[in-house]
């Protein structure tokens, strides 16, 4: 099972996500990337992220993404 960091690298291989604490503010992920990321995580973890949770604050960092996934029962 891929980690969130690995999925991010698949979507945007040109960026080093470990160097950022705010993927949205730092311009590494745009809104299309976020929707793509949600679709990839839905598939990878067999979940369905609620439309209400597709908000920038849930995708700003690996930590916030992992917190979101835990709410959907995905273990660390």
């Amino acid at each position: 099972m891929k980690t969130p960091a690995e999925i991010l690298h698949t979507i945007r291989p040109e960026f080093d996500f470990s160097s950022s604490h705010d993927f949205i503010g730092d311009g590494m992920l745009d809104s299309f990337d976020v929707v793509t990321l949600v679709a990839e995580m839905d598939r990878e973890y067999s979940i369905s992220i609620d439309g209400e949770d597709i908000l920038p604050e849930n995708f700003r960092s690996v930590a916030s993404i992992e917190a979101l996934l835990r709410r959907y029962g995905v273990p660390r």
Binding site: E14, G27, S31, F32, D50, G51
Partner: protein
């Protein structure tokens, strides 16, 4: 349709649409800030049925359609419903994604009377260093606040309103204040203009136009060189271009842009009342 009064309405509607594992499809990529500006301007109406949310944004004489649906099947069924009141108006919709992912949605829209109006492709310039010296073309400058109407009119006259999001005067005003609009003046007229936006490490080239009378005279190149210098800290510069504009694509490739795999199929349906 009913007017959207607050962002909370959209969030709750999305919650109703995207429940349980589903084949969720959407073209709603607007950020919360952009949605808020549309709502504040009174430009956004919504229409909802089981498994499907449609948002209509008012533009110049037509509406732009954004959707979120539980499945493509739900979307197709909803679009084909002959009783929908929006069918009296001219509507466009942008289907953005990788070509293979977008094709089924194109089919769903075609089945509801939409035709492909144009195709845009996204190009990106990634991680390349600009020319080492700052460009010194004296004809390139930032637009002044008192030039906002001239710049707005320049873009409005040259943009294709269905496939390109015509900026509002307010957007141009804010971009000028932010020093994100470059212009070239020749013989007392606005010969070319370029508008861009930078978020962190990504710069988006939003508009880049040269007046017909001034084309092939280095105006566009001067604007691009200045943009590349100003965005030299950016890791990525992105832009959208019409897929059949081979001249423009060749020019962008000359500056190091490459297709990044995304397309925007712009679908158009003329209103039943047209």
């Amino acid at each position: 349709m009913r007017r959207v009064a607050c962002a909370r309405e959209i969030a709750e509607a999305l919650h109703r649409v995207k429940v349980e594992p589903s084949e969720y499809v959407t073209n709603l990529y607007a950020t919360p800030a952009i949605l808020a500006s549309w709502i504040e301007a009174g430009e956004l109406d919504s229409h909802e049925a089981a498994g499907c949310l449609l948002l209509f944004r008012r533009d110049l004489g037509f509406r732009r359609l954004y959707f979120a649906a539980r499945s493509r099947q739900d979307l197709a069924g909803y679009l084909r419903d002959p009783d929908m009141d929006w069918r009296a108006e001219t509507v466009t919709s942008d289907l953005v994604g990788r070509p293979l992912d977008v094709a089924p949605s194109v089919g769903a829209f075609a089945g509801a009377g939409f035709a492909r109006y144009t195709t845009l492709i996204r190009m990106a310039r990634v991680g390349l260093a600009p020319a080492p010296n700052e460009p010194t073309d004296p004809n390139v400058s930032f637009a002044r606040p008192d030039e906002e109407r001239i710049v707005h009119g320049f873009f409005e006259n040259l943009l294709d309103r269905y496939s390109e999001q015509t900026p509002s005067l307010r957007e141009i005003r804010e971009a000028i204040a932010d020093e994100k609009v470059l212009i070239v003046r020749r013989e007392g007229h606005l010969a070319g203009a370029l508008c861009y936006a930078t978020t962190g490490v990504t710069t988006t080239l939003r508009y880049w136009f040269v007046a017909i009378a001034h084309q092939n005279r280095g105006v566009g190149a001067a604007l691009m060189r200045r943009l590349l210098w100003l965005s030299r800290e950016s890791r990525r510069i992105v832009l959208w271009v019409m897929a059949d504009n081979h001249d423009a694509i060749t020019k962008y490739e000359h500056y190091g842009f490459r297709r990044d795999g995304l397309v925007d199929e712009v679908m158009l349906r003329k209103g039943d009342a047209s």
